[in-house]
């Protein structure tokens, strides 16, 4: 187990390194010119040359990549800026934004809590409703409730998030005015209090959860129907167990195993930013940060957000594999 974890974590480092390299070199293949962006409106050849020298754009790509990686690997970070005005960029140094000069790590740290709460809240909602609806549908297979939940699931999967989000926003904030218009772009629970916090997040949660809830409903239903046809369910009934024990202890336990896997991966993916939902509700999370970075040709910011998101996805994979071995005794880690 210990050796397995160490090996998996080493693999993680390698994967992250490959992702960083691909992102870095892909950026320079694009026709973008960050020097033009940095020097702003009053550009002339002289200022561009200064910018190139300051940011090291004159250096060969491989040297630039080396400098960049030093900031991520070295415990002391690296120095940034032109000679004479150097400043230390502490570990983990993703560099400074080309757009506004703010250290990327600071922006990510600021944006992450919003994304975190968005993802966690939505995950709770979709897991609860998805599993519950799927379970009910499976147990009432072929009946009205089953058809209703399958229909809802189809609706949820097909409804584009971007339309659904704006509809919710329009209906509950603009038309019905059940929820006040949010006056902040990043509600922290301890600053604004639970009521405002919930008002801020409830619509984004529902928006983000819809598609996932629909998928999980279908998945739970299919798994549960399969499981309830297993021989060991018949054995459980033959022992004289009550139907509740049969369904929850013997049925759902097996049916949820694959869902744990997918849930881990989905959540891991979302912790790197929910682009569309954050955009609709103007939440300054990682997803919005990612869009702004890409649109601004902001290499340090892009690198930062890509690597940060990748860490969650890769770690989620490790966690899921370990969890699977905990849940299913037939799986051995080696």
């Amino acid at each position: 187990m210990g050796r397995y974890l160490i090996r998996r974590l080493l693999q993680t480092v390698v994967i992250l390194w490959v992702i960083s390299a691909i992102t870095f070199f892909l950026f320079w293949i694009t026709p973008a010119n960050p020097a033009l962006l940095i020097c702003g409106k009053n550009c002339n050849t002289e200022t561009i040359a200064t910018v190139n020298a300051t940011f090291g754009f004159d250096d060969p790509l491989i040297v630039q990549y080396g400098t960049y990686m030093k900031g991520l690997v070295s415990p002391t970070g690296r120095d940034i800026g032109s000679e004479g005005s150097e400043r230390n960029c502490a570990w983990p140094c993703f560099g400074e934004s080309y757009q506004n000069g703010i250290p990327v790590w600071d922006s990510i740290s600021d944006a992450f809590p919003a994304t975190f709460w968005l993802a966690i809240g939505a995950a709770t909602i979709w897991l609860f409703f998805g599993v519950m609806l799927g379970l009910l549908a499976a147990l009432r297979k072929g009946k009205a409730l089953d058809k209703l939940s399958v229909g809802l699931a189809l609706f949820g999967v097909s409804f584009p998030t971007i339309v659904f989000g704006y509809l919710l926003l329009f209906l509950f904030i603009v038309k019905l005015k059940w929820i006040p218009f949010p006056d902040t772009a990043n509600a922290a629970l301890f600053e604004v209090g639970p009521v405002k916090w919930l008002q801020f997040y409830i619509l984004p949660w529902i928006t983000l959860a819809l598609v996932f809830a629909a998928l999980y409903t279908r998945l739970t239903r299919a798994n549960m129907i399969d499981t309830m046809n297993e021989d060991y369910i018949r054995t459980a009934r033959a022992k004289g167990l009550g139907e509740g024990t049969v369904i929850f202890k013997h049925g759902l336990r097996s049916a949820l195993t694959p869902i744990v896997t997918i849930f881990g991966l989905d959540l891991g993916g979302l912790l790197g930013g929910a682009v569309i939902t954050e955009q609709i509700f103007s939440i300054t999370g990682l997803g919005k940060f990612a869009i702004d970075s890409v649109l601004g040709n902001d290499l340090p910011a892009i690198m930062g957000v890509v690597l940060f998101a990748a860490i969650f996805i890769v770690l989620a994979n490790v966690v899921v594999d370990v969890l699977y071995a905990v849940i299913d005794p037939r799986v051995r880690l080696s």
Binding site: R234, T235, A238, G240, G242, S254, I327, D328
Partner: protein
Amino acid sequence: MTESVTTTASTSAGTGKPFLELKNLQVHFPTDDGLVKAVNGLSFTLERGKTLGIVGESGSGKSVSSLAIMGLHKGSRAKVGGEIWLDGAELVGMSVPEIRRLRGQQVAMIFQDPLSAMHPFYRVGDQLVEAYRVHNEVPKSVARKRAIDLLDRVGIPSPDKRFFDYPHQFSGGMRQRAMIAMALMCDPQLLIADEPTTALDVTVQAQILDLMMDLQKEFNSAIVIITHDLGVVAQMAQDVVVMYGGRVVEAGPVREIFYRPEMPYTWGLLGSIPRVNRGGDHRLKSIRGTPPSLINLPKGCPFQPRCDYQQHVEGHSCTGEVPDLLQIGTEDHRVRCHIETGQRKKLFTEQIKPNL
């Protein structure tokens, strides 16, 4: 089905009624293609301490009947008719909560494939404990002790350690032993074994059958053994029911069925047993054709399309009517065939027996 189900399990002792009696059991499954008549009038009786073998091809209704005795069709789309009397209580009309109290306690079942029949996520011991504690309000430690005792009894080495193993850590034979131990946790009076040895190799098979017979002597339980292996029946059972297409085609004491069978289907089954003492140039005989569709049973005798002896029928038409299950001789030997009984005896002695 009109009989009251309020009679409790213990009242029939000494009333002269058989311990287990099936009367005209019917199990039908409505499907999109039509009504599947999986069991179509099965009747037999069984006393405690005795073993009944049910024999037949796949799809002849063997397993479906046993699930009906356990009430495991309740809640599914299956339509169960007829009567099942167990120790004075009628099971077909019984409600699910009532029959649940009997399951595992009075009637227990051993399933065919112990790997898929045990839950892969729970320890073998815990699954045994669960079977005990559902009917007995005892602390875990008591149930655990009983589970380890029974694992020991069915011949699992160091049962106190194997208690903590998962089913996949057991070998096939050990799993079947554990399955038997699980079925015996509550000392059931009736044990239904659905092809208990089909998934096992012959050596282990013999051990498992010996074990079941030993345990039967000890607990005085009645056993229904379902199999398509006539060797198993010969070893275990006192009475045999041969099923074909959801119907009984021949029934009687085991010696009658093996030494004086009268139904062409039984002849075919007996003829298809491989024998080591036969010359090497003999082909293994099989019954031609395939088992009938249970939605559209052949007209008349269900075995008629596969029967090679129809020219010996006089006065009846094999494709016309279903032959009745008629008693022949004195020993409760019943046969469903249009061929006249004297003619059947002659055919068996002259044509079938020499080739067995």
